[in-house]
């Protein structure tokens, strides 16, 4: 019987307070490392060292590659190459817990895709102290891009549906309590925590006053541009309600402004999805998805870099149309920027679920077990599944890591004869066929696939 309950990934989606590190994290890391035998390193683009991609210590750096390690045929790209090479950029969002498990995750995506996917470590300024955020980004050397998002939309609760800003976040980031934001000061805060791609504030655009909202956001972006120093890069950071992509009038205004303001070569655009969307599921609103597609096409046509934070597989789909970056995280909030809904008492146990790469969907464990029991089932070779399946009890963290690894890894399914649009189209059509052959029901049905197929 399909379980229609949400899970605790939903309940923590708006948590802005990093939990203390779990003592189990290091044990889990050791356990995962114990199942990996190959040790491979990739050179950092600036030549200052190597990142261990697999095996013990994966995700950390060594100054000199020790003897006996395999040297990867690709380097860890630098920021500019990651943003402009035309290869996908996978943004991994700072998790509120289990963050020590992320460096290996980032390295695993680079390794599994043979460097075809670059990664970004993305923190949010209101989610931690400078020390915590800097420490985490420093611990992710496989990340070519480092982002510290100001989350300016937290000043706009009448536009986007968000929870009340906590006193702790206000203490860390007093600008969240002010009416206006000093663009230069905000840029400087991002510098302080070590970001190498700076963002404008990300205030939410009011669809009731569309042109005024656009003018304000772009003007603020200009102020941020003016605050840049040599060799710094800025992405125009916009936060939108879904209507900006699904409503033709709003979409035209937004896209026309994006086209006209050529000074912004990188767009970091976050769109809020409805609260009823299940954790780790994909939106199926065709108008919204068509808006995303047109946005990605515009970016491609105009040679701009489009980054779509908190979009998970829906963001991955947009790579087919011209997006460069898509974001996900260990928990549900990393995969979707959803409207905050009141309710949820925190007592609902998390459902045991597993991301099936061949379905491009997360299914309940019973479904996964049935599929895995068949002789033709292709077992996952990610770094986390050996440990996950060796345990007598289901480990949600390992299951989440497996999914996050795959969401990133799917960006690298290209080949010289199969560019990204064709590769994604083929992948979706294969998934449609797989789903048609499985006795799926309820939440296990990948309802997004027919809509995606239509768009492709």
């Amino acid at each position: 019987m399909p379980n229609d309950n949400t899970d605790d990934s939903d309940l923590v989606e708006w948590d802005d307070e990093p939990a203390a590190q779990d003592d189990d994290d290091s044990a889990l890391e050791t356990e995962v490392a114990g199942f990996t035998t190959t040790t491979e390193v990739a050179e950092l683009a600036d030549g200052t060292g190597h990142v261990i991609l697999s095996g013990p210590g994966a995700g950390t750096t060594v100054a000199q590659a020790p003897d006996g390690l395999t040297r990867a045929e690709f380097p860890i790209r630098g920021r500019d190459a990651a943003l402009t090479s035309g290869s996908p950029l996978f943004l991994v969002h700072f998790p509120h817990q289990k963050r020590d498990l992320m460096p290996r995750l980032l390295a695993s995506v680079v390794a599994a895709t043979r460097g075809k996917v670059s990664t970004a470590a993305a923190v949010a300024l209101p989610r931690g102290t400078d020390t915590a955020l800097t420490g985490w980004m420093d611990s992710c050397p496989a990340a070519s891009v480092r982002i510290a998002d100001p989350l300016g939309y937290m000043l706009d609760p009448t536009i986007v549906r968000i929870p009340e800003t906590s006193d702790r976040a206000l203490g860390w980031r007093p600008y969240l309590g002010e009416d206006t934001i000093d663009a230069a000061a905000l840029v400087d805060m991002q510098r302080q925590v070590g970001a190498n791609l700076l963002l404008s504030s990300g205030r939410a655009l009011d669809s009731a006053e569309p042109q005024e909202a656009l003018n304000g956001a772009f003007s603020e972006g200009d102020d941020a541009l003016a605050a840049l120093e040599a060799d710094e890069r800025l992405a125009l950071n916009l936060t939108l309600t879904a209507s900006w992509l699904s409503n033709a009038t709003l979409r035209d205004k937004l896209f026309s402004q994006l086209l006209d303001q050529e000074q912004f070569d990188t767009w970091h655009i976050r769109v809020q999805w409805q609260s009823s969307l299940r954790s780790f599921h994909q939106p199926t609103d065709i108008a919204l998805l068509a808006g995303y597609k047109r946005l990605a096409q515009l970016a491609k046509d105009e040679g701009r870099t489009l980054l779509l934070p908190q979009t998970g597989l829906t963001g991955w789909l947009q790579l087919a149309f011209g997006a460069t970056g898509y974001g996900a995280g260990l928990f549900g909030s990393g995969h979707a920027f959803k409207e905050h809904s009141r309710g949820g008492n925190g007592a609902i146990p998390e459902v045991e679920r597993y991301f099936e790469p061949t379905l491009l969907h997360i299914v309940e464990r019973a479904v996964h077990d049935a599929m895995r029991a068949r002789p033709d089932y292709v077992r996952c070779d990610c770094p986390y599944c050996p440990a996950l399946h060796a345990r007598p009890d289901w480990d949600h963290t390992l299951a989440h890591l497996h999914m996050l690894h795959w969401v990133g890894r799917l960006g690298g399914i290209t080949s010289p004869s199969r560019p990204i649009e064709r590769a994604i189209r083929q992948s979706v059509r294969d998934a449609v066929r797989t789903a048609d052959g499985e006795p799926l029901a309820g939440v296990n049905v990948p309802r997004h696939l027919p809509v995606w197929d239509q768009l492709l």
Partner: protein, 275 residues
């Protein structure tokens, strides 16, 4: 009415004002007359009270542009004419005639010349827009000259000085092309012109030359702005079948009602150059 056919001042008075032996009248716009003086073209603002800051802004814009397809500003001075001090802008003189004259003479470029014209205009626009977002705002056949009469060397003239129009209707006057017929939908709605508005002007201009008729309006017909907008939204007349491939694609994109669908000058150049 956007253009006058006769100069506001005599050639003798203008020559004296410019301290040259003689001048030849080149044309008149809504705000000023343009005279040839040797190998330069001098535009004298004739409308009393023309905002000096507008001249200054446009001069600043022109000085930022370095393009073979945008007329070069040589000097920005003032002259005393008709008892008043008036701004006078001295440009290089483009010997080769403008597109309005060719259209009125019934000259239709070949498909290859159409491609050359389109490429040149988009290059000029790309250079212009790259100069701190400078806009032209009034792209139309009389504001485009062909250097040495070469379709591959179009030059944008009269930048931005005529950013508004006194025309109250959109009319295709025989032999005289005003400003309104070249306006983009957003301009017809009285919204500010943007880069996409310049792209629309290029699209309408090249389509007009290539097909020998305006893509949206009938000769001699008189449209209110709302009627003109409806004409534009209904779509252009088809291009001649001889216009094919990427040129056809770009010319169709450039006259799309939605600004973003027209693309930038650079992306349209890529479409043409990669084909």
């Amino acid at each position: 009415m956007g253009r006058v056919n006769a100069p506001r001042f005599s050639a003798e008075d203008v020559a004296v004002a410019l301290s040259v032996e003689s001048v030849d009248f080149l044309g008149a716009g809504a705000f000023g007359d343009t005279w040839r003086a040797g190998d330069t073209a001098v535009k004298i603002i004739c409308v009393d009270g023309y905002p000096p800051e507008r001249v200054g802004r446009e001069v600043a814009g022109l000085l930022r542009v370095d393009s073979d397809h945008v007329v070069k500003l040589l000097a920005a001075e003032s002259v005393t004419l008709g008892g008043q001090i008036r701004p006078a802008l001295t440009f290089e003189y483009i010997d080769g005639g403008d597109l309005e004259a060719r259209f009125n003479d019934g000259v239709v470029p070949t498909p290859a010349q159409t491609r050359d014209l389109l490429l040149g205009l988009l290059r000029g626009l790309a250079d212009l827009h790259a100069a701190d977002g400078t806009l032209h705002r009034d792209i139309k056949p009389p504001n485009i000259a062909l250097r040495d009469g070469d379709w591959a060397q179009p030059v944008l003239l009269d930048l931005g000085l005529a950013r508004s129009t006194t025309e109250t209707t959109v009319t295709m006057y025989p032999g005289r092309l005003g400003t309104a017929p070249w306006m983009a939908p957003e301009q017809l709605r009285a919204q500010p012109a943007r880069k996409a508005s310049d792209l629309f002007g290029v699209g309408v201009t090249v389509r007009t030359l290539a097909s020998g008729e305006h893509p949206f309006y009938e000769p001699g017909a008189d449209y209110t702005y709302d009627e003109a907008l409806a004409q534009v939204l209904a779509g252009p007349k088809p291009l001649p079948e001889t216009i094919t491939g990427s040129v056809r694609t770009v010319l169709d994109l450039l006259v799309r009602p939605a600004e973003f669908e027209r693309g930038s000058a650079r992306s349209n150049l890529r479409r043409l150059e990669q084909a």
